[in-house]
């Protein structure tokens, strides 16, 4: 079953007089439970693609489906609901709410989606334990290391039991130990919760965790490979995935 289907996505940005290509006819299909890395140099369109998939930004043309929902047809409110319930986001800069503790950051999302206080506290406790932050629930982001903050962000992303997690350069601000801990956590969530992962990165250490590696350049997909225990099979190059 497909988690994500993108068809002929195009997106341009205007910067003054200049027109910049963000996405140039991108089509991909990502299966449920996959673990995909988007790689490519800076400015190749990784973030633009993730934003389009996550419904944070609308493409100029093309179709996007998450599960069986055509999200390019959704309004703002419905998109927000979809992000809240079906998609988890992990950002490069963690983006935690600074005035809330680890637990509150996680519970905030649950409160927004209307969960009861009892359910929230039970769930946030379990999830923070799962991401390895037991005992740090009451710390504020400023009192946590980068790796710990990113794990709070992961806890926040998975708390509403999304089917899909989109991570944009999640390890860019982390040292190698924290990076591999985070990737281990991702792998574990992918295996045990069958969450589909799409991770934008240009970090080689991250790529080796991927089941599938998609390379981008100038807003186009230039490579698409299955990563079988470091033995890389070239499956499709360029353009359209079937």
């Amino acid at each position: 079953m497909n988690a994500i289907v993108c068809k002929d996505l195009c997106k341009t940005f205007k910067q003054g007089e200049e027109i910049i290509t963000g996405l140039n006819n991108v089509s991909i299909i990502i299966e449920k439970g996959d673990f995909v890395c988007l790689s490519g140099p800076s400015g190749s369109g990784k973030t633009t693609l993730l934003n389009a998939i996550g419904g944070l930004d609308t493409p100029d043309s093309g179709e996007i489906s998450i599960g069986d929902i055509r999200i390019d047809k959704l309004g703002k409110g419905a998109l927000a609901d979809m992000r809240l319930h079906n998609i988890g986001f992990v950002f490069q800069a963690y983006n935690l709410i600074p005035v809330l503790t680890a637990r509150e950051n996680v519970e905030f999302v649950m409160q927004v989606s209307g969960m009861s206080a009892a359910e929230r506290s039970q769930k946030s406790h379990a999830i923070l334990k799962e991401v390895g932050l037991e005992g740090m629930e009451d710390r504020r982001p400023a009192q946590l290391s980068g790796g710990q903050q990113q794990r709070v962000a992961v806890a926040r992303a998975i708390v509403s039991q999304p089917t899909l997690i989109l991570a944009d350069e999640p390890t860019a601000n982390l040292d190698s130990v924290a990076s591999s801990q985070l990737m281990d956590l991702f792998t574990q969530l992918n295996r045990h919760h069958h969450i589909t992962f799409v991770i934008a990165t240009h970090d080689i250490r991250v790529m080796k965790y991927a089941k599938r590696l998609i390379g981008m350049e100038d807003g186009k997909i230039i490579s698409d490979q299955i990563n079988n225990d470091q033995t890389i099979n070239v499956q499709t190059v360029n353009n359209k995935a079937q």
């Binding site: 934003n51 996550g54 944070l56 930004d57 409110g77 927000a80 609901d81 979809m82 992000r83 809240l84 319930h85 998609i87 986001f89 950002f91 983006n95 709410i97 600074p98 005035v99 809330l100 509150e104 519970e107 905030f108 999302v109 409160q111 927004v112 989606s113 926040r156």
Partner: protein
């Protein structure tokens, strides 16, 4: 505590100084408003009370037709027994019967037209400050004495002094010729030229016989102990006189409609000043919340990316304002009330006030009048306007794009 509330509370203290400055502006303006409004209410009360106590009284019993058509024949009978009855029932002496007529007054040299008030000597002093303004001679003691007290201007005009005789010429209630000779027993000086020139008092018994009034008169003046008690006392008086269908009980705002208008005009000008103060506070709130929304653009962008809707972020901003305004309201109202309460006990005067007060037989200090209205009116409006001012920053969140917002520093 709800997470949104917790978040709002902590957000406020991210910029302690800025928050306190904004709350401080609210506290200051609320304190000022409570004080000024209480003082304003107090001075109105004093102004009304003094004006009414000088002559009109808080309320009057009259013939129904008298207020619109104050002619001598629009009188009512058995006025003194009724006044006695009211005094008895209310348990107060601040009730006095009067008759009102016009007469030509002549001394040896000159003649002037004059309003003649017939008064009950024992009780007139309880409802009017005029007897207290006598600066020469003494007030009446006998209700039937053929005596008169006149104002200082009239005394000068007529060239008379204490002990001199005056001739009164007029027409009685039945149209008959009314004439009498009275002795000047006192001269008063109210400071109001009109009164000092054209008003005189004679004892009511003599008045009745002079103007062929029988046992009648024109009004019974009643003062309540305090202005706020007027409606209650008026109700009681109504109950006492309601069997006499020809009578009506009129409150001071019917007797002196100009007084209320003067107050309303003054109120309007005072509110203009308050409005300036309130607008300044509202702008300070607007500024604070705009800044605080702007510097949290990234945070709001993140929350939107997570699926939080703008309405929720907007209510966070409003909640923050609500907390600040509540602090401003509570602290400002308490401090303002404390100040106004203190001054309502010890009084308040400005330079020159005592001198003026002594001259016009007025109280020499002002007393703020503290009431729930004077406490909460100003701060309530500040509170409301602050919330209103934060609607604009809150609305801006509806135009936020999560992607560009998250790029903001």
């Amino acid at each position: 505590m709800n997470i949104t509330l917790r978040m709002a509370w902590r957000n406020l203290w991210r910029h302690k100084r800025r928050t306190w400055l904004t709350v401080g502006a609210m506290i200051f303006s609320n304190l000022l408003l409570v004080f000024l409004i209480s003082l304003q209410f107090g001075s109105y009360r004093m102004m009304i009370d003094n004006t009414l106590r000088s002559y009109t009284g808080h309320m009057q019993v009259q013939n129904k037709t008298y207020n619109d058509d104050p002619k001598i024949r629009n009188s009512f009978a058995a006025i003194i027994p009724l006044a006695d009855e009211i005094r008895h029932q209310l348990g107060t002496d601040s009730v006095a019967a009067r008759g009102v007529a016009f007469a030509m007054t002549s001394s040896k040299q000159r003649s002037y037209g004059l309003q003649i008030i017939g008064v009950e000597p024992d009780f007139e002093t309880r409802v009017s400050t005029l007897p207290g303004l006598i600066n020469k001679g003494h007030y009446f003691t006998d209700i039937n004495a053929e005596e008169i007290i006149i104002g200082s201007v009239l005394a000068r005009n007529l060239r008379v002094d204490i002990g001199d005789e005056l001739t009164l010429l007029g027409s009685g209630r039945d149209g008959s010729f009314a004439a009498g000779i009275v002795i000047v027993t006192a001269i008063f000086e109210s400071g109001v030229a009109d009164i000092d020139r054209s008003m005189a008092q004679v004892p009511l018994g003599y008045f009745q016989s002079l103007f062929s009034m029988g046992d009648g008169g024109h009004n019974i003046v009643i003062n309540a102990e305090d202005l706020p008690l007027v409606p209650l006392v008026q109700q009681n008086v109504n109950d006492i006189v309601h069997q006499r269908k020809e009578l009506a009980v009129l409150g001071w705002n019917k007797l002196q409609p100009g007084l209320k208008q003067a107050i309303q005009a003054d109120m309007a000008s005072a509110w203009f000043m308050y409005a300036v103060l309130i607008v300044l506070v509202a702008f300070s709130v607007l500024n604070t919340q705009l800044m605080s929304v702007l510097e949290r653009t990234r945070e709001f962008g993140t929350m939107m990316a997570l699926g939080v809707k703008p309405i929720r972020l907007g209510s966070l901003v409003i909640t923050e304002t609500f907390i600040m305004s509540s602090l401003g309201l509570a602290i400002g109202a308490v401090l303002g009330s404390a100040l106004a309460y203190y001054l309502s006990i010890v009084g308040f005067s400005y330079p020159g006030m005592e001198e003026m007060a002594g001259k016009f037989n007025l109280p020499d200090r002002m007393y703020p009048s503290l009431s729930p209205l004077s406490i909460f009116l100003g701060p309530g409006i500040v509170f409301f306007c602050s919330l209103l001012a934060s609607i604009y920053p809150a609305l801006r969140l509806f135009f936020l794009q999560p992607v560009s917002a998250m790029k903001a520093v």
